[in-house]
Assembly symmetry: C2
């Protein structure tokens, strides 16, 4: 009886009512608010507005790389090393699973269970498809919750294959790009667009022989200045790591610290924060347009005149898009 | 002298002036207009409005699959078989290369050069990053040009890894999803979200032994009705193909024809056209928001008050996004 009552009363807490517990560092309250974000609950909005204003203390680290590059293992080792230094860490992993195949890839997370007894580590997976209101919005709102929850570091892990995933990894203070030796050409090519966003490179699986070639290639690329980072004073490091031997993890943590100090001392942190906010606001504005379109459709009915005219080739999509956008007010 | 004059006068043709040549089927004029689309030339707009109204005759086929699944080879064989049937075909391949790694993957296209002597085949690659004004816009405007240019079929080839790429493949009358036997688990998982959009499945490399397992898995999935297509009367075929033996190509062409007839006879074609237009208009509206933001910034200066307030945590991104969106009129 008492248990049932307790559960019921906890269930009925509004998003706003969850705020004090989130700020006290309750991972249970954070998890609940994150679920509301994922389900697109409109009431979360007020809570997020509140939490956002109080946030900004956490360091956000983005980590991305092609499938099979050993991201999950690296993240586990990273989290463990972080804890060993006495710092708390939250990991948000964006998985490219569909609502339909339902987290086929989430099994990966099981490798992390050895960490889950520790309240200083919080791990959460988020599907990259089917998130109501867009991946970027849900992921970044989750970062706001974890930030308000008091985690020292928030690690945002994404698969570096789609623009959305790359965008998310980029909305971080420090972005780590993981490469693995010996992956096929096709998959390496996908990576091309991702390499540019790195503040730090990690080559995983460095116990493998082919790793030295990958290290050399990355270093040469950086030496040639073929990187956005080349415009700043920050010298992008290339770190060899191995989950087998434990090599490189401490180096990686130190490099992330150095990058943070660099951002601070050079004044680049302000620019980075401005860029993050700008990307985020634009993404949100785009999603609002989608929402308003859906709302407009609900009000006007299934057959919008403008769309029917485009179907009939009487008018073109661009003209109608402008018209609709202007009607959304 | 005469040559120089000729070149100069050709160069100065406006996008609108290119229209008659495009409609006459000049691939040179089409290529030029496509380049203007890619570079974001504002003058292309009027030409596209004109061309869109006159289009709608071509059949648009989307083809997508994970890296390494043998898409390019299949596309080449598909194009050849099409020509053998006396039909013209344009191939637009969306490559996930960055402006920076500059078409590392375009080398793939070289495999297609054996086809390029034939005016009934047009092949064009488009980078998926760095396209001014968004990938979807550029790709679909290119389809409009090729449609007006009189091609019977337009094949839109994308790598099925990012949401953008999947979106593009889905804006087709018929969408083919290519799977390959024996790819790693990581890469197969990415595919999960892509399988759902198939009107037709192809399993490539069927000379390989592992292919029968992939065929069986796909057929079981379809049998279980785990597919959006299950809601219609269309029975999604799974076709085994091999570029080595030539197996399956004729079957694939026949299946695309059958799907087209099905769309026609069932009345689904109208729904499909409506869906394509709707997706397209929403995408355009989103891109317009991005454009208006950039324009607003140019007018107001680099430091928008709203953004600065978000950086200072005085206000939250969502509130400011709404405010900016409403100010864009």
């Amino acid at each position: 009886m008492t248990v049932t009552k307790g559960v019921r009363s906890r269930k009925s807490l509004s998003s706003l009512e969850l705020i004090p517990a989130v700020r006290d560092g309750s991972t249970r309250a954070m998890a609940r608010l994150i679920s509301r974000i994922e389900s697109g609950d409109p009431e979360r909005r007020e809570a997020l507005t509140e939490l956002y204003r109080q946030g900004g203390k956490a360091r956000v680290v983005g980590l991305t790389g092609v499938p099979g590059c050993g991201k999950s293992t690296l993240v586990r080792e990273y989290a463990k090393a972080h804890r060993a230094r006495g710092q708390t860490i939250a990991v948000l992993a964006i998985d490219p699973s569909s609502p339909f195949s339902g987290g086929a890839i989430l099994g990966d997370r099981i490798r992390m269970t050895e960490l889950t007894g520790d309240p200083g580590i919080f791990i959460r997976s988020m599907a990259s498809r089917g998130a109501l209101g867009g991946l970027a919005r849900a992921a970044l709102e989750t970062v706001d919750v974890l930030d308000a929850g008091g985690f020292d570091t928030i690690l945002l892990e994404t698969v570096g294959v789609g623009q959305d995933e790359v965008d998310v990894a980029q909305v971080a203070h420090t972005t780590i790009v993981v490469s693995a030796p010996g992956l096929g050409d096709d998959i390496q090519a996908i990576k091309a667009g991702v390499l540019e966003i790195a503040d730090l490179h990690v080559v995983s699986k460095c116990d493998k022989q082919e790793a030295s070639r990958t290290l050399t290639e990355l270093r040469q690329m950086l030496h040639l200045g073929l990187n956005a980072g080349a415009q700043t004073a920050w010298k992008i490091p290339v770190i060899a790591s191995s989950a087998e031997t434990g090599e490189g993890i401490e180096k990686l943590l130190n490099a992330v610290d150095q990058h943070w100090r660099h951002l601070h001392d050079s004044g680049e942190l302000a620019d980075r924060r401005r860029m993050i906010v700008e990307r985020r606001v634009i993404k949100l504005a785009e999603e609002l347009v989608r929402d308003r379109f859906a709302e407009h459709r609900r009000q006007v009915g299934p057959h919008l005149v403008g769309l029917e005219q485009v179907v009939a080739r009487e008018r073109d999509p661009y003209t109608v898009a402008i018209e609709l956008l202007n009607a959304f007010k």
